[in-house]
């Protein structure tokens, strides 16, 4: 079984935000919720770097550990999904998440923040694959159709890679060897407890 991961090759990201737009459009993500975003470090200065970040689908996911109602589950592909029927909107997953992935439809309203929403790796939720209910709650289920997440598929510079962890790590390694440099796989140590030698 594949172990699905994201890898953002920060030396290729040009901050075009196509991944963000693709994600929003594919899943009809409401206003105010950002399953994926691009962050630029040292913006406008020498050594500037842009990284596209979403849920990394961590190994031993912190959100899953701290959830008081156990609404998270990890699929056989290593994708971390959750049930909006079980979520009580407490916000604890956001405090635990190293990548700021969980999003809530409301900010306050006496702590009732609504059902949490996050990147599903284009793999839907616990409902039947491709069902209307699944689409309404979690968006499209591309993985069930044999397709990879749209953000990575759309990436114009192929900076954002999605797929089996071993394969995308190999692609990244080859790139680093060929061009002679690489700033590393951002977030991999935090998410997967491993780094790619560069």
């Amino acid at each position: 079984m594949a172990r699905m991961k994201f890898l953002c090759d920060a030396d290729r990201c040009i901050e075009c935000n196509a991944c963000v737009t693709a994600c929003k459009n594919e899943h009809d993500v409401p206003w105010g919720i950002n399953r994926r975003r691009v962050v630029t470090i040292n913006d406008g200065k020498p050594g500037e770097k842009s990284i596209s970040m979403a849920c990394m689908h961590c190994t031993d996911a912190p959100c899953q550990a701290v959830c008081p109602v156990n609404c998270f589950f990890t699929t056989a592909d290593g994708v971390v999904l959750h049930s909006k029927d079980l979520c009580i909107g407490c916000g604890y997953c956001f405090y635990a998440c190293p990548f700021g992935a969980p999003q809530y439809p409301r900010v306050g309203n006496f702590g009732s923040r609504g059902k949490m929403d996050k990147c599903t790796y284009c793999a839907g939720g616990p409902e039947a694959d491709g069902s209307k209910e699944e689409y309404a709650k979690y968006g499209a289920n591309r993985l069930a159709e044999g397709k990879l997440p749209l953000c990575a598929e759309m990436c114009s510079t192929k900076s954002l890679l999605a797929g089996d962890g071993e394969i995308i790590a190999q692609i990244y390694k080859e790139r680093v060897m060929k061009r002679g440099y690489g700033s590393g796989a951002w977030g991999w140590k935090t998410a997967y407890h491993e780094t790619i030698a560069s």
Partner: protein, 340 residues
């Protein structure tokens, strides 16, 4: 010979050109492959050494999204999943064990001189209303709060995920909304009982003699003895701390960043479990731990003999006061000295 010589020169010339061309290549190349154009770029490892989280600029209104990584979430997770469960478990089960052992050894502390049949007003209607409003809120807040930490391992396997989510959702609403009357109660308790709860010399003696529960005599006390003063300050300071940290959690990210939210949860949780433990002790003394104690908050009146044993100095004050204004439910005592 000439032909050979000419050929030789051509070959030598060609070789020389080739060597020159090869030798000149590094000079003519604009971008040698050995240079790393990203050499000055920021590195993840380096940023982690300098900061505990990595933030940048993002183009969406939600500024929280501009934090790309905060590994501190893992520390918070460890607190919430391991440390807090240990603290809460040890403190709450510990206090219950202590109370059970204490009850088995000491039993209910009786009124030594028996009931006199005469009563004295201890808490008026307003005081009792404030007490019970705060107490009712506290019990619900405590149960719904403990559910967040201990519900998943203890209750969820028993009732199943759907029922547990339904209960937790309601518990969360109750926790949020009942925080308001609870906070009001804590403020009123602070204001209406502050006069009797300033520590004084009598308290030192009271603590040295172990009070009326641990010790076996009755050290003198005013309206509130040192133990009750301790409970008062636990309620005021602990209640204040859970209220402030709780409202930070209830209005997330209004004035705080993610680190402050994590700190608020840690403070809220630790103070709350200690608060619960202290209140278990309070409930014990107020019910099965001591004869005649519950009626103080029940009917509002206590037996005069109970009052004499536990609050001797207060009874003298009261007798002096009511002796002047005339007894209502209390009979005039021979020992009572008129105020003037």
């Amino acid at each position: 010979m000439m032909i050979f010589s000419t050929k030789f020169h051509v070959i030598v010339g060609a070789l020389t050109l080739l060597v020159m061309a090869l030798g000149a290549q590094p000079v003519s190349a604009q971008q040698p492959t050995s240079v790393n154009p990203q050499a000055s770029a920021v590195k993840e490892e380096q940023l982690f050494q300098e900061l505990n989280r990595i933030s940048g600029r993002c183009t969406i209104p939600d500024q929280k999204a501009c934090t790309i990584e905060q590994p501190a979430g893992r520390d918070w997770r460890h607190f919430h999943q391991v440390t807090l469960r240990w603290i809460g478990g040890v403190v709450i089960i510990g206090i219950l064990a202590v109370l059970i052992v204490f009850y088995l050894r000491r039993g209910m502390v009786k009124i030594e001189s028996g009931r006199s049949g005469r009563t004295i007003v201890r808490f008026n209607g307003f005081e009792r209303f404030v007490h019970w409003m705060t107490a009712t809120c506290f019990v619900i807040l405590a149960l719904s709060g403990l559910n967040i930490t201990f519900g998943k391992p203890l209750l969820l396997p028993l009732i199943g995920p759907e029922s547990f989510t339904a209960w937790s959702q309601w518990a969360k609403y109750a926790h949020n909304y009942l925080s308001f009357p609870f906070t009001l109660g804590v403020i009123l308790i602070f204001l209406m009982w502050i006069a009797g709860n300033i520590p004084n010399k009598v308290d030192i003696d009271w603590f040295k003699r172990g009070g009326g529960m641990v010790g076996h005599d009755h050290p003198p006390a005013f309206r509130f003895n040192a133990g009750q003063k301790a409970i008062y300050w636990i309620v005021v300071l602990g209640g204040g701390a859970v209220a402030v940290s709780g409202y930070v959690l209830m209005f997330p990210f209004y004035e705080t960043d993610i680190h402050s939210m994590q700190i608020a949860e840690v403070v809220h949780a630790i103070v709350a479990v200690l608060f619960v433990a202290a209140m278990l002790g309070h409930i014990y003394i107020g019910t099965i731990g001591m004869e005649g104690a519950f009626e103080a908050m029940g009917s509002g009146t206590v037996d005069v003999n109970w009052a004499r044993e536990h609050h001797s100095l207060w009874v003298e004050e009261e007798m002096a006061r009511t002796g002047r204004t005339g007894p209502n439910k209390t009979q005039r005592q021979p020992t009572a000295t008129p105020a003037e």
